[in-house]
């Protein structure tokens, strides 16, 4: 390999057919002459070298045997050299760091020599050793291309905002399940907003039997084993549900506040009493109608109950997982409005518990959050709630549903394959890496391969093949032909 060109933080390296380098691989450009310096670069694209005369040769040799054939008397075997040159490649690489006397530096202000410098592959194990990833709480994600295990540290997710994204069936949920199990394995409380009921079986092995996590995975299904009494709720949370999930106008919200305070003072906060109070409340008829329509929405959601024995005490649930466990909120078969009601309640309760220091911190995994998270919550989650101790991981196959400012603040991005330019454009806004790397590498990632960006890998993007899990991980997609047969 020979150094050919450098522009900004991009270097172009000439590589020959016998030298194997692929997208995502790291190369070390060593220049020992002045100060024993080296550049750590990563291949982001592999192109054919633009050798002169190639078009003429291809056109000349692109004959099908029917119209033209022949042979070459080439005793000096120049053709083998020609083939070698024709197959020469240009590796487009990004400079990730500079190495001077064994010390890493993010700057690359110097230029290695074209003639003296040597270029060699940098195995992932050597890279990880160089960047010194902390392994006090290792989370094994899988293997790199050179079949060395890749561990990140669980602390790299602590207090961080993470995004897991990729197109359908590339392995996003698989990775997030792996992260969930690893975190709860280290005694961390995890809350999963499970849109498709995929996490409900985390406590079961692939053979259907209970696994080591079964006692620590608690599945809450709204209107089944997850119902709450109005008396458990705070006015602020209820108003959030009414205003944000059920679009209650401001005037009506003010009347509702009075009704709620009236019932609260008399300790009669039940659905039945709430209905009666709205019916008998002295107010404008339009306001009453508005309140009634929201009241029936609450009733019909099935999430609220007047029976104290049916009501779930979320605080107790959190206490159960506080020293390592997952609270999976199964939102499958739940309507959009009901999902929003459940999530508003859950997040409100979570913040309450955290502000009262009843919980130390929580890792929140939100699948396709745009389907239940109201607009104003996004900023709230990545800023205010993070300070309370809610460390969120967004999992989505629609990267454009996550706003640009969220990408910019993401500490770790677990990026799976995308082929759509629009999707790649959205993901490339992540601040942890340049857009070219994201677009070029993500486009060619095979299934179950993930590009890790961010603090977990000390900003050295690494491609990893996510390891298999011995749990029931598959989403229960109802198939037409399977059932028919």
């Amino acid at each position: 390999m020979r150094l050919y060109k450098k522009e900004g933080n991009t270097v172009q390296i000439l590589s020959f057919p016998t030298e194997n380098a692929e997208k995502g691989d790291y190369l070390l450009i060593e220049d020992t002459k002045p100060n024993n310096k080296a550049l750590i670069t990563q291949v982001i694209d592999v192109q054919f070298a633009n050798v002169p005369g190639i078009l003429e040769e291809l056109l000349r040799d692109s004959t099908n045997g029917d119209s033209l054939n022949g042979q070459d008397f080439d005793p000096l075997e120049v053709s083998s050299h020609l083939t070698y040159i024709q197959d020469a490649r240009l590796l487009v690489c990004k400079i990730r760091a500079s190495l001077e006397n064994g010390k890493l530096s993010p700057t690359s202000a110097w230029l290695p020599s074209r003639s003296h410098s040597t270029i060699k592959p940098l195995p992932t194990t050597a890279l990880l050793k160089l960047i010194k990833i902390n392994h006090s709480l290792p989370v094994q994600l899988g293997e790199t291309k050179d079949e060395s295990p890749l561990n990140i540290d669980a602390t790299a997710l602590d207090g961080k905002l993470n995004i897991v994204t990729g197109k359908k069936e590339t392995g996003k949920s698989h990775l997030s399940k792996l992260l969930v199990l690893s975190l709860l394995g280290y005694g961390a409380p995890v809350v999963v907003l499970d849109l498709n009921g995929e996490y409900a079986h985390l406590g079961y092995g692939a053979d259907g039997k209970k696994n080591e996590y079964s006692s620590r995975v608690n599945v809450l299904t709204p209107s089944e084993n997850f119902r709450v009494a109005l008396a458990q709720m705070k006015l602020r949370v209820v108003l959030n549900i009414l205003i944000h999930a059920l679009n209650l106008p401001g005037t009506s919200a003010r009347e509702f506040r009075r009704i709620w305070q009236f019932l609260d003072e008399r300790a009669t906060l039940t659905l039945h009493e709430l209905g009666e109070a709205i019916r008998n409340w002295r107010c404008n008829q339009h306001v009453r109608d508005a309140l009634f329509s929201r009241y029936y929405a609450l009733v019909n959601s099935g999430f609220f109950t007047d029976n104290p024995s049916d009501a779930v005490n979320l605080e107790d649930c959190f206490q159960r997982v506080r020293s390592g466990g997952a609270l999976v909120v199964n939102l499958r078969d739940t309507s959009l409005v009901d999902r929003q009601i459940v999530v508003e309640y859950l997040l409100g309760k979570l913040v309450d518990l955290l502000t009262q220091h009843k919980l130390r911190a929580v890792f929140l995994f939100a699948e396709e959050a745009h389907l239940y998270l109201r607009e104003t919550y996004w900023d709230d989650i990545v800023t205010r709630m993070r300070h309370f101790g809610v460390f969120t991981t967004f999992v989505t196959n629609q990267p454009d549903t996550i706003r640009e400012n969220i990408y910019r603040q993401a500490d770790n991005v677990f990026l799976f394959n995308f082929t759509n330019e629009h999707d790649l454009e959205a993901v490339s806004r992540a601040a942890k890496v340049d857009a070219e790397t994201v677009k070029s590498i993500a486009r060619d990632l095979p299934a179950h391969h993930c590009l890790l960006l961010g603090t977990a890998v000390k900003d050295f993007p690494i491609v990893v093949r996510v390891k298999a899990l011995n749990v029931q991980t598959m989403g229960q997609t109802r198939l037409f032909f399977t059932e028919k047969n």
């Binding site: 002169p52 005369g53 040769e57 000349r60 045997g65 042979q71 070459d72 008397f73 000096l76 050299h81």
Partner: protein, 370 residues
């Protein structure tokens, strides 16, 4: 003995092309000489200075007769009609390229191509010979030139003419390799149309008249017909290009020129009848030489057979076009040869400072830099 015209189909097994040339002595000597000449660089200085633009040579320069209003000069337009009687067509072309310079001499590569169109088949077959890199120095140029002459002109007689200067060696040895290929094809083919690139002009040091006459006779004896196409012609009649005179005639046609001296100088001889050929519709017409010893009818018949047996594009035969394409060097091939030299002989290519650029900056582009 008067040669009898015979165009009856013959047994194809005697016809060229075969998979290889029967006589491989020259290629074998080529390799030896090529390798030996390159070793001289190693002994001297392992650096090859790359020329700024690859100088290619596509064989002989045209020796142009000057028609200065001779009173006897006659122009005769002959209409042509394709003849579909099956006849094999074989074309030969040779290219050479200057790979670079050394402190002792020049390094060039040479390659030949023979393309044939078989009877009853629509496909073409090619045989490429080379490339052979040669390091030519003042010390070895005589040896190299003699070898080429010996094999190409089939003569052991010592060369009475002096060895050309280094500058002209590229042209000379390219011509000599071409002669060797032409001889090979002429002796191994039968009843075949043989297409040459260039003209049937003899009398130069690498195309002695008696050798050229012998070569044409060999071809005739095996019932072959040699047709020589010049891509660029400087033929003029009283200042006007001859190829322009045919513009008024309806193609396909042949402009026959008669009445010019066959030996314009004491040494130069035109062994062919000179025509201007416009074989298809289009803008191009070419100088086409046919063997002077063939009757006009036979020459015209041969051209008509060419029209019926080969594809023509802009009046140029596809077989000859392919021979040119397959012998020509691409820039990539030059790099491949330089790599071969670097790998096998440790010869590094170095780009010399461009004096024009140094002196004249952006104005120092040279003739091709505009």
């Amino acid at each position: 003995m008067i040669q009898q015209t015979q165009y009856t189909p013959t047994t194809s097994k005697y016809n060229f092309p075969q998979s290889t040339l029967e006589d491989t002595t020259l290629p074998t000597r080529f390799i030896e000489l090529s390798l030996r000449s390159i070793k001289t660089i190693q002994n001297n200085e392992a650096a090859l200075y790359q020329p700024y633009e690859a100088m290619t040579d596509e064989t002989t320069e045209e020796v142009t007769p000057i028609f200065q209003g001779q009173t006897k000069l006659r122009l005769n337009t002959i209409p042509l009609k394709p003849s579909h009687q099956e006849t094999p067509v074989v074309a030969i072309d040779v290219s050479s390229i200057k790979i670079g310079e050394t402190s002792a001499g020049i390094l060039l590569a040479i390659r030949g191509a023979i393309v044939s169109k078989k009877q009853r088949q629509s496909h073409y077959h090619y045989l490429r010979i080379g490339p052979f890199p040669f390091h030519i120095t003042e010390q070895n140029k005589k040896e190299i030139y003699q070898l080429f002459r010996q094999y190409s002109l089939d003569t052991l007689a010592p060369n009475t003419t002096s060895t050309p200067s280094l500058i002209h060696m590229q042209t000379r040895i390219t011509t000599l390799l071409e002669r060797w290929l032409q001889t090979g094809v002429a002796t191994q083919s039968q009843n075949t149309l043989i297409l040459w690139d260039g003209s049937l002009t003899a009398g130069t040091s690498d195309s002695p008249t008696h050798i050229m006459m012998q070569l044409l006779e060999t071809a005739r004896n095996r019932l072959n017909t040699v047709l020589a196409f010049s891509k660029i012609t400087r033929l003029r009649l009283s200042g006007q290009r001859l190829t322009d005179l045919i513009e008024t005639s309806k193609p396909p046609c042949l402009l026959q020129i008669e009445g010019y001296p066959t030996a314009p100088t004491n040494t130069i001889h035109f062994l062919g009848n000179i025509h201007v050929a416009k074989l298809t519709q289009g803008n191009c017409s070419f100088r086409l030489d046919t063997d002077r010893q063939l009757p006009t009818e036979q020459a015209v018949e041969a051209i008509q057979r060419l029209m019926g047996n080969d594809q023509l594009s802009e009046s140029y035969p596809e077989t000859l076009r392919l021979a040119h394409i397959y012998s020509t060097f691409t820039a990539n091939e030059v790099i491949a040869i330089q790599r071969l030299l670097a790998q096998t002989h440790g010869i590094k290519t170095v780009t010399r400072p461009n004096i024009r650029r140094l002196l004249f900056g952006p104005y120092g582009k040279g003739p091709d830099g505009a």
